[in-house]
């Protein structure tokens, strides 16, 4: 199945290679570099490439490419999913999946790769199983038994992330106040699907540590209440090679909760040279190379709405951009699940002790775009 793996950074250095069968020369990556040069943006590199003797399947995570070499037919998703699992595992072990972290822990990563695949076929991919075989740099030995569920909601999709530190083989049952809201769900393999179908409760024996228990989709018929509104006005003038920008953000339906970590990202047209703006709240940065304007607002104050206003200077002699850039908004609301999904109760069977339980609701903007 998977023959070899190369980890490649953005500048095209191969900083780790692992072969599960005979060694394949790293020159095979040249085909990939060619495709990468053609694509320009790393996001645009085709995930599947065909070379005379091999197939290359790659994913892009944390500014590195995980490039696998395949020799014969295999479902591409199988490989892609596995490569993401590798990245997830590295993230789980070291906190993040980046070139530096991998270089610092080269041997552990190499050993992990050795365990995760046998002859190119996945062997152990669950992080709790792996941690038994290969110890992470420093493992947290928590005496307290805690279970915290972080419920993260985006527009209409969410995940339940669990952090379980319970000893023994506890059998947990999690029920919701309003499971009907959930339209489409997918589960961690530990969840018993039959019970969910019959009773709409999550019954499972959790693995240790952090994992995603369930991800779900809330029926889009229940209109999603967007917590903020945006008033924007971006103009580019034909003459004078300048433009004007004026953005105001206000709260809409926040159920009395504070909107936090508010930020606005605007990819400006390439002809914008610089921005001269004033923000009533927070600060803005304009990256001259990527032409991305980021306005970091922070907390949203309903009394005094944050506003960003000013002029943009444009390259002269070039026609004005036809399209106004779209705004991407990021935000977070603590203690609120915008879908209204609520955890009813969590019961534990099979163990005697009394666990510590906690639930945290968070709303985050996923891909919240304002077309202008």
């Amino acid at each position: 199945m998977i023959h070899s793996l190369f980890l490649i950074n953005n500048t095209g250095d191969i900083f780790l290679e692992k072969h599960w069968k005979s060694v394949i020369s790293r020159s095979v990556c040249d085909y990939f570099f060619e495709a990468k040069a053609k694509a320009g943006d790393p996001e645009n590199v085709p995930p599947v490439l065909q070379t005379p003797h091999h197939y290359l399947i790659s994913v892009y995570r944390g500014k590195i490419f995980l490039l696998s070499v395949i020799q014969s037919e295999v479902p591409p998703l199988f490989v892609i999913e596995f490569l993401h699992r590798v990245a997830d595992t590295i993230q789980d072990y070291f906190g993040e999946c980046s070139e530096n972290v991998i270089k610092d822990n080269l041997v552990i990563v190499y050993e992990l790769l050795e365990e995760m695949l046998d002859n190119g076929f996945p062997l152990a991919t669950e992080s709790n199983v792996l941690k038994e075989m290969i110890r992470p740099p420093n493992i947290l030995r928590s005496v307290v038994n805690t279970l915290t569920g972080t419920t993260v909601f985006a527009e209409i999709q969410g995940v339940i992330e669990a952090c379980v530190r319970l000893s023994g083989m506890p059998d947990l049952t999690l029920s919701f106040m309003n499971p009907r809201l959930l339209d489409d769900v997918s589960f961690h393999p530990c969840v018993r699907f039959k019970r969910w179908e019959a009773e709409r409760v999550l019954s499972f024996i959790p693995p240790d540590g952090n994992f995603t228990l369930m991800s779900y989709h809330v029926n889009s018929q229940n209109l999603v209440a967007i917590p903020v509104y945006v008033k924007q006005n971006i103009n580019f003038f034909d003459s004078g090679s300048c433009g004007r920008l004026d953005i105001t953000i206000g709260p809409k339906q926040t159920m009395g909760k504070m909107v936090e970590s508010l930020s606005v990202t605007i990819p400006m047209p390439k002809t914008v040279l610089s921005a001269n703006l004033t923000a009533t709240q927070g600060s803005y940065t304009f990256d001259l190379a990527t032409k991305i304007l980021i306005w970091d607002v922070g907390k949203l104050n309903p009394q005094k709405l944050p506003n960003l206003k000013g002029t943009l200077s444009m390259q002269s002699g070039v026609p004005k951009p036809e399209e106004n850039p779209s705004l991407s908004i990021g935000l977070k609301i603590q203690q609120l699940a915008i879908s209204g999904l609520k955890v009813n109760r969590l019961d534990m069977y099979g163990e005697k002790y009394k666990p510590f339980k906690g639930v945290k609701y968070v709303t985050k903007a996923g891909k919240f775009q304002v077309r202008t």
Partner: protein, 1109 residues
């Protein structure tokens, strides 16, 4: 580090370039030396006996490998550590070995025996890892060893080891495809395995080795369906893909009636524009036809097994693993009745929120599906809307899907969406959008004009790429109804002045040429302009200019004759031969000369024939002949190893092949078991036999998941309930398969029962009793004995009752002749004279439970002891303890008055023959009594065991006492660390055995010795020349010195100037043969033959020292 690594980087993966080669390059001299030095210090660290240093060295080496640098020159230094007791070091050594074994085949062989030993370790994880590494060493010479190891592991009691065996199958297959037939047997056996852990891996092996042997699946089909939900996710993907293929060969097409209709319709559908308009008619038609077809055919009834597959895979659409979801989706797409396929849409749409790579693959598949089953995704139209942050390749795929989904009802929404896309800054995407609009226009008649108008508006767009793309699309659209659109053609003719994109210019020219009668005035003028710029045009434009000229010449020769000739003359001398060719061809065809052939009459017909409009087709059309979700589908080309998805059979093959018959006796045993254990749920095997598979499916999968959760700790625990159950079922299966096998392969008649009896064991206790039926196997009372066994497994008391009997049997069997096993071994023995197979013989001893081993082995050693004491020439056993070397365990001062010494008594340690007896002398020098002397907290390397001495209650002041403890050093000189405790104090102490104490003497005749020595040649032989000490040149002193150095027994010898000794290592029973050949003048040669390289080397040193001092 820095300079060295920089240099090494260049070398890259060029593998085995030997170091000294750098020497030729004077420039790299400095670097070379530092590099060399570094490797030297790594070697030094590896040779040290500190684990921490070794670990550090191995970490650095593995980091080198990970960075793709060459570390092959360290192979000899690393391979020495393969038997290292430190698990961390060992793991890294394994990693190294697997990477370089292929390049250093000879040296790699040194490590094989370690793995062979590991294969018999009582710990399942060690067995599994030994097999994993052994099978990963790509060295052809060990193929027979791998084969044996795989076969053995395939019947291991631990499902984890069996899983590893399944993984090893494709490895061996790729190393030596000749082994296919044997491997298929193993696959067949593992396919019958009932554990979820094994299922995925064995199907993967099946797919790689013998995907064509679909017949192997029949008997396991229902089991696989039922186990599926509990198999690990990667296994699910492989199984589902395989079952899709299986179902295509075994069941009838559920859409058989519709597919007839489809065929009928597609003929009429091939032309654009027709399908949408006719859709409604078709619906009606379809209904009629369906009715007809239904009347004609006998109604289709789905095979219950087909239904079982569909039902059991459906819940997996909820998997978190995108590959699993995709696998189920393709299964439904290829196998489900039309009405049921819809369920997959939602799950696939969910995957669109995943990583962009996942989206990329899913969208490709959705694009293919939307062509066949548009309705399925229509409700999710908006999920395919494009975000400005999507990568271009995703945008283009989404566009493809949106285009496929367009129909009369939603086209206005889609077009509005497209309009916003055209404004995007991503020009490739805009071009694709324009293409998409063109396709919508050709497919949906109503909007054709709207689209055309929109596209014409785009012609005035500032961006040239947009305009060019529009021109190309408009050209295609105009071909459909040119007469209506002469104004558009005029408009485009004007554009030729501005547009520079060659493809667009060529399109315009073609249009004008083709429809020159619609623009009779403009066309010649365009040709005039083109003639002017001809030399500066791109080739495709030049060709179209020639075309235009030819067409105008034919229709309007008056105005264009000269122009045409001018253009043809220019083309005649063009650099491009295509253009020169074309010019020559056109000239001959259109300009009438006396030479021109008959064809010129038809020139007009040739050039101005009515051309069918192009069909704007999705690139995904007909891609569904590849199995969806496969690499081949994605690439639209057959990838290596792709298994074609077969067409549905005309008539269904016999469904009874999937029936699993349950033999009479096993039913009743299962029933009995149920009584005993109060298990209410039926097992797969009976329920399948007794009730219809459809009805029982639910309860089956329930019990499946139940057993899974019970065996959730498979890795640590063996002999859990589920294991027992499963093994019983396993034996059912085996039993019934046995018959055909026996008749088929007379050759293996003897061999098979051995394996079978092994596989039947699930708990260790079973091992012994299983031996019984082996002897009785041929008798008719088989079933009874099986039953009584399973009873005896469950209750310990039963076991102990029958123990004496079984033990005797074991003794009879294993000791004197081992008739059955020997035979199987001999077959392969010839092939591997290089490597000692003796290692396989004690295979069973480490696996037996301590209790049993304890008893039987002690008998064996007792027997040996007897034989030895008869032998006068074995001074070791009768050597007086006074000559024994004593070592200090605890000094009087550190022990606060308690001093402890130990020596190796060289007596067999009766409680466990695999242990070395250590005699310990305690002396209490203090003034007070010491009480409760005992051993605690032994910190041992993996595999080592300690049998403590019984607690000494009181040791009075000034008193001395002696105790004996047993230590299993695992044939290594690693120290055993433990705490010696008194009632008040704890002392850390260490016992380190000299290598000579790790063996026990064996008696041998000269002939036996020679025979064994003959088998331990090559790498297993180490010899050393020496000069004997002046006072030890006679035979007696040599014997004495050698036997002092190591626990050996003398072998009688005919020759005067040779002394021979033999022993076996205590733990693994490996032979150790020592020969000292004396020559005149005190010269001598010492030879040690031992398949444990490490022991051999160390022993040589030890004896050398003894003889030369």
């Amino acid at each position: 580090m820095s300079s060295g690594s920089a240099f090494n980087d260049e070398k890259g993966g060029s593998s085995s370039v030997a170091e000294p080669e750098y020497g030729h390059d004077p420039a790299s001299g400095g670097i070379f030396s530092s590099d060399y030095k570094r490797h030297d210090d790594l070697k030094e660290m590896l040779d040290s006996n500190k684990d921490s240093l070794k670990l550090e060295a191995m970490k650095r080496i593995v980091a080198m490998i990970a960075r793709g640098k060459n570390a092959s020159d360290l192979f000899p230094a690393v391979v020495k550590n393969v038997a290292c007791k430190n698990i961390e070091v060992k793991k890294l050594v394994y990693v190294y070995l697997v990477r370089y074994a292929e390049e250093q085949q000879d040296l790699a062989l040194l490590s094989i025996s370690t793995f062979q030993r590991g294969l018999k370790d009582p710990n399942q994880l060690i067995r599994a890892s030994a097999l994993r590494v052994l099978s990963s060493i790509r060295v052809t010479i060990i193929v027979p060893i791998m084969m044996l190891a795989i076969k053995e592991a395939a019947s291991d009691m631990s499902p984890y080891v069996r899983k590893t065996a399944a993984h090893a199958i494709p490895k061996l297959y790729s190393l030596d495809p000749e082994q296919k037939d044997q491997l298929i047997e193993v696959i067949e056996k593992l396919l019958a395995d009932k554990t979820t852990l094994v299922a995925g891996s064995v199907v993967m092996a099946f797919e790689e080795v013998c995907p064509e042997r679909i017949d192997l699946i029949h008997k396991n089909y229902r089991k696989l369906c039922n186990l599926l939900i509990d198999v690990e996710e990667w296994g699910q993907v492989v199984i589902i893909n395989m079952l899709t293929r299986y179902a295509r060969t075994q069941f009838l097409n559920p859409n058989i009636n519709e597919s007839l209709l489809e065929e009928g319709n597609t003929e009429g559908k091939t032309f654009y524009g027709s399908d949408e308009d006719e859709d409604e008619d078709e619906d009606e038609e379809e209904k009629e036809k369906k009715a007809e077809a239904l009347a004609k055919r006998k109604p289709y009834v789905m095979d219950p097994d087909h239904r079982l597959l569909l039902r059991n895979t459906k819940p997996l659409l909820q998997s978190r693993n995108a590959a699993v979801v995709m696998a189920v989706a393709q299964l439904y797409f290829h196998l489900a009745p039309k009405a049921e396929v819809g369920v997959i849409a939602k799950a696939l749409v969910r995957l669109l929120r995943s990583h962009s790579e996942v989206q990329f693959v899913v969208l490709q598949n959705v694009a293919t599906m939307t062509i066949k089953r548009r309705g399925m995704f229509e409700p999710y139209l908006k999920s395919f809307y494009i975000r400005s942050t999507d990568p271009t390749q995703i945008k283009i795929l989404k566009l493809e899907v949106l285009t496929n989904l367009a129909n009369e009802t939603n086209i206005s929404t889609i077009l509005r969406e497209f309009q916003t896309y055209i404004k995007s800054m991503d020009k490739d995407f805009v071009a694709a959008t324009i293409q998409a609009i063109g396709r919508c226009a050709t497919n949906i008649g109503e909007v054709r004009d709207t689209c055309l108008n929109g596209l014409v508006q785009l012609l005035s767009n500032r961006d040239e790429l947009v305009v060019a793309e529009s021109v190309v699309v408009i050209k295609k659209l105009l071909q459909m109804q040119p007469e209506k659109h002469s104004d558009i053609i005029k408009h485009m003719a004007k554009l030729i002045d501005n547009i520079q994109v060659p493809m667009a210019r060529a399109s315009i020219l073609w249009l004008i040429g083709e429809y020159c009668e619609h623009v009779p005035k403009i066309a010649p003028d365009v040709l005039r302009k083109m003639a002017k710029s001809f030399t500066n045009e791109e080739d495709i434009v030049k060709l179209q200019i020639l075309n235009l000229a030819a067409k105008l010449y034919l229709t309007n020769s008056k105005q264009t004759k000269l122009l045409t000739q001018y253009v043809l003359n220019l083309a005649k001398y063009d650099q491009n031969y295509d253009i020169r060719d074309r010019a020559r061809f056109i000239r001959q065809l259109i300009v009438p000369t006396e030479k021109s052939g008959a064809l010129s009459k038809y020139a007009k017909k040739l050039f101005l024939a009515l051309k069918p409009a192009p069909v704007l087709e999705s690139p995904f059309k007909d891609r569904d002949h590849f199995q969806l979700g496969s690499l081949s589908h994605l690439l639209n080309a057959k990838a290596g190893g792709y298994q074609e998805l077969p067409d549905w059979p005309e008539s269904a093959p016999d469904p009874s092949v999937r029936n699993v018959e349950v033999p009479e006796w096993s039913k009743c045993s299962a029933r009995e078991k149920r009584k005993e254990k109060k298990v209410e749920k039926p097992f797969y095997s009976d329920s399948e036999g007794e009730s219809g598979p459809t009805e029982s499916a639910d309860s089956e999968s329930d019990s499946g998941s139940g057993s899974e959760s019970a065996s959730g700790s498979e890795e640590s625990g063996s002999g859990s309930e589920s294991d027992e159950e499963e093994s019983d079922e396993g034996s059912d299966e085996e039993e019934e398969e046995e018959e055909p096998k026996l008749t088929k392969k007379k050759m293996q008649e003897v061999k098979k029962p051995v394996h079978q009896s092994e596989s039947e064991q699930s708990s260790e206790e079973e091992r012994k009793p299983q031996r019984k039926p082996k002897s009785r196997k041929m008798s008719e009372s088989e079933s009874e004995s099986e039953e009584s066994e399973s009873e005896s497994d469950e209750s310990e008391s039963d076991e102990s009752e029958s123990e004496p009997e079984t033990r005797k049997k074991k003794k009879v069997e294993s000791k004197p002749s081992k008739p059955v096993k020997k035979e199987t071994k001999k077959e392969s023995k010839k092939e591997m004279s290089l490597l000692d197979l003796d290692d396989f013989e004690p295979a069973h001893s480490p696996q037996v439970t301590p209790v049993n081993a304890f008893m039987s082995n002690s008998l064996v050693t007792d027997l040996e002891g007897l034989s030895l004491s008869d032998d006068v020439l074995a001074p070791a056993t009768i050597s007086p303890s006074s000559s024994m070397k004593t070592f200090e365990l605890l000094h009087r001062i550190t022990g606060e008055g308690l001093s402890v010494e130990y020596c190796f008594s060289r007596q067999p340690f009766s409680p466990d023959a695999n242990m070395v007896a250590v005699q310990i002398h305690f002396t209490n020098n203090s003034s007070s009594d010491v009480s409760n002397l005992h051993v605690e907290d032994a910190k041992l390397q993996s595999g080592m065991r300690v049998k403590e001495f019984p607690e000494i209650e009181v040791l009075a002041a000034g008193d001395t006492t002696t105790a004996v403890m047993g230590i299993d050093f695992c044939d290594s000189t690693q120290a055993a660390n433990f705490q010696l405790c008194t009632n008040s104090k704890k002392f850390f102490v260490t016992i380190q055995p000299p290598v000579g104490e790790l063996m026990r003497p064996v008696f041998m005749t000269e002939n036996e010795f020679k025979k064994e020595q003959g088998q331990l040649m090559g790498m297993n032989e180490i010899s050393e020349k020496l000069t004997l000490d002046s006072n030890c040149r006679n035979e007696h002193s040599i014997v004495q010195r050698v036997t002092t150095a190591a626990n050996l027994s003398r072998v009688p010898c005919g020759s005067d100037n040779e002394c021979r000794f033999a022993a076996r290592t205590v733990t693994s029973n490996s032979l150790v043969l020592v020969t000292v050949a004396t020559k005149p003048e005190g010269a001598a040669q010492l030879t040690v033959n031992c398949d444990k390289m490490l022991i051999g080397t160390m022993l040589v040193k030890e004896i050398l020292q003894g003889l030369t001092q």
